[in-house]
Amino acid sequence: MSKDIANKKSLNKGILDIIGKNSRFSLEDLAAMLETDKETVEREIKAMEDDKIICGYPALINWDNTDHEKVTALIEVNVTPQRDMGFNKVAERIYKFEEVESVYLMSGDFDLTVIIQGKSMNEVARFVSEKLSTLEYVNSTATYFVMKKYKEHGIIMEAEHDDKERMLVTP
């Protein structure tokens, strides 16, 4: 039994390692790579979705390479924690805004890092001044606009055009 559990753990770790980098493999391909069957992979993925281990499958988009303008800003937020709720309640009020991409509770000089994405600097500025800084318990904010994204989620955004000269046949 404990062997089954160990196997399941290593299978799940294998699934996460693979789809964490590329979630587009078919169930058949995953099963072949992990030496199991399609049904098992499907069942384990479903279970990890239910457990909120796998939380979504968004594509990583470099909007800079499209005609659509997007602006990303990182905002440091200082808040007053609330009795019984700590930071969670404030965080919730912030992350429910659609513009908000990510919210992290931080150690250090400020409390929350909020990453937001808007159509323009104006839009972001408006969000900060009208929505974020006016929230009860938010004491101060500092906004930093992202000038260029080099790498996100482990992926280098602008592929270096480096045609590798790997030979076609070697011993």
Binding site: G14, D17, I18, F25, D29, A32, M33, L34, E35, R166, M167, L168, V169, T170, P171
Partner: protein, 387 residues
């Protein structure tokens, strides 16, 4: 004009891979599963250490045997991974890839007419290097039904009173075969009984799946008669850095070092600094790459089996060695036809010895996407040619 050439060199055949390489190079847009090197880049922290050493102006020769720090790290690594103990002073030296170490070891130990047992299929350089050392290669043909392992009986049958060295190329290129501890115990016994020496080429030692690599030098009585060859190319994806090493009893290493000293001087300094970083902080990289190879291995084996291609399951290196005898073509014919019809390059088994006839070496040092693309071509090809 007199003949400028050495008869010894002229009689050595160019590598069969070379010939196939020339054919592939002529083919436009061909894709390949023919490469014997990792597809990963050297991990950045290792490259960065090489760059840093250049920035600091560490561009001088090192001592012949290599940087002291590097030899110490190699010593610790061998102990940590394989339970081998070698003194960094006198029992280890750093070479230009495993290939140089193979040549050094053979030349340091052989006299005219000595015989060297080489189990084939195997890496292409043992046989010519034995000839360069004025000795006589004796080939053992490994069998698919033994999963391309060397058996005690085969070894016994090949030994004569002139036999001096046994080359042990495991984990094996091109078959992917490994030798387990039990398999090696049989061989070790024969080696001692016949007073042989072993050159154990363990360059793929980090790439075994399901069990850890066992070095024949770890058997009692074998350490004093074995030269262990290893390096950074396969384990850390550092082929282009050209860095390997050899370990063994001081008396043999001293003589190998003389050849290295006069022919090479020392291994590249930049590579040596990078290698120190690899051994100190690279265990994770090795594990990640091994896991990736293992997934590809399983993926590839399953796909080949689904096509009905006969292929034993290899547990080492990054090759599979499927049998293509059902198609009534030689390995070379098959590989050439596959290249012409589907623009896919794989290496004919015969490039690694005559007994590779009827087999192909397929490398899985490629992304799953590349493998899928190639597998579609193989499937189309074999459907067309299967009667």
């Amino acid at each position: 004009m007199r003949d400028p050439l050495s008869k010894k060199i002229v009689q050595i055949q160019p590598s069969g891979i070379r010939k196939f390489f020339d054919i592939v190079s002529e083919m436009k847009d061909a894709i390949s599963l023919g490469v014997g090197e990792p597809d990963f880049d050297t991990p950045w922290h290792i490259r960065e250490e090489g760059i840093y050493s250049l920035e600091r102006g560490r561009t001088f020769y090192t001592s012949n045997a290599g940087l002291k720090e590097l030899k110490e790290e190699i010593s610790k690594y061998l102990e940590r991974r394989f339970g081998l103990t070698y003194n960094p002073v006198g029992e280890i030296y750093v070479t230009v890839g495993g290939s140089e170490a193979i040549d050094n070891a053979l030349r340091a130990m052989l006299d005219v007419g000595d015989e060297v047992i080489i189990p084939q299929p195997c890496y292409v350089s043992y046989e010519p290097c034995v000839i360069l050392a004025d000795a006589v290669p004796v080939i053992i043909e490994l069998k698919e039904e033994n999963e391309f392992k060397l058996t005690k009986a085969q070894l016994e049958a090949a030994i004569t009173e002139k036999t001096k060295i046994l080359v042990m190329p495991f984990p094996n290129n091109p078959t992917g075969a490994i030798m387990t501890k039990d398999d090696l115990a049989d061989i070790a016994e024969v080696v001692i009984k016949h007073d042989l020496f072993v050159i154990s080429d363990e360059i793929y030692s980090e790439l075994t799946y399901g069990s850890n690599h066992v070095s024949i030098a770890s058997f009692s009585g074998l350490r004093e008669r074995t030269i262990v060859i290893n390096g950074f190319s396969k384990s850390y994806a550092m082929t282009g850095w050209r860095l390997g090493y050899a370990c063994g009893p001081k008396a043999i290493v001293d003589q190998m070092l003389k050849i290295h000293q006069y022919a090479i001087m020392c291994a590249p300094t930049t590579s040596q600094y990078a290698a120190i970083e690899a051994l100190r902080n690279g265990d994770n990289d090795v594990e990640n790459m091994r896991n990736a190879y293992d997934r590809r291995r399983k993926f590839l084996i399953k796909a080949l089996h689904n096509m009905g291609l006969k292929c034993f399951e290899p547990f080492g290196a990054f090759y599979v060695f499927p049998c293509i005898k059902e198609f009534k073509m030689s390995s070379e014919e098959f590989a050439e036809a596959l290249l012409n019809e589907e623009k896919l390059a794989v290496v004919p088994g015969t490039a690694f010895g005559n007994c590779g006839e009827g087999f192909l070496r397929i490398s899985y040092a490629y992304s799953i996407e590349d493998l899928k693309n190639a597998l579609e071509r193989i499937e189309r090809f074999i459907k067309r040619h299967r009667k």
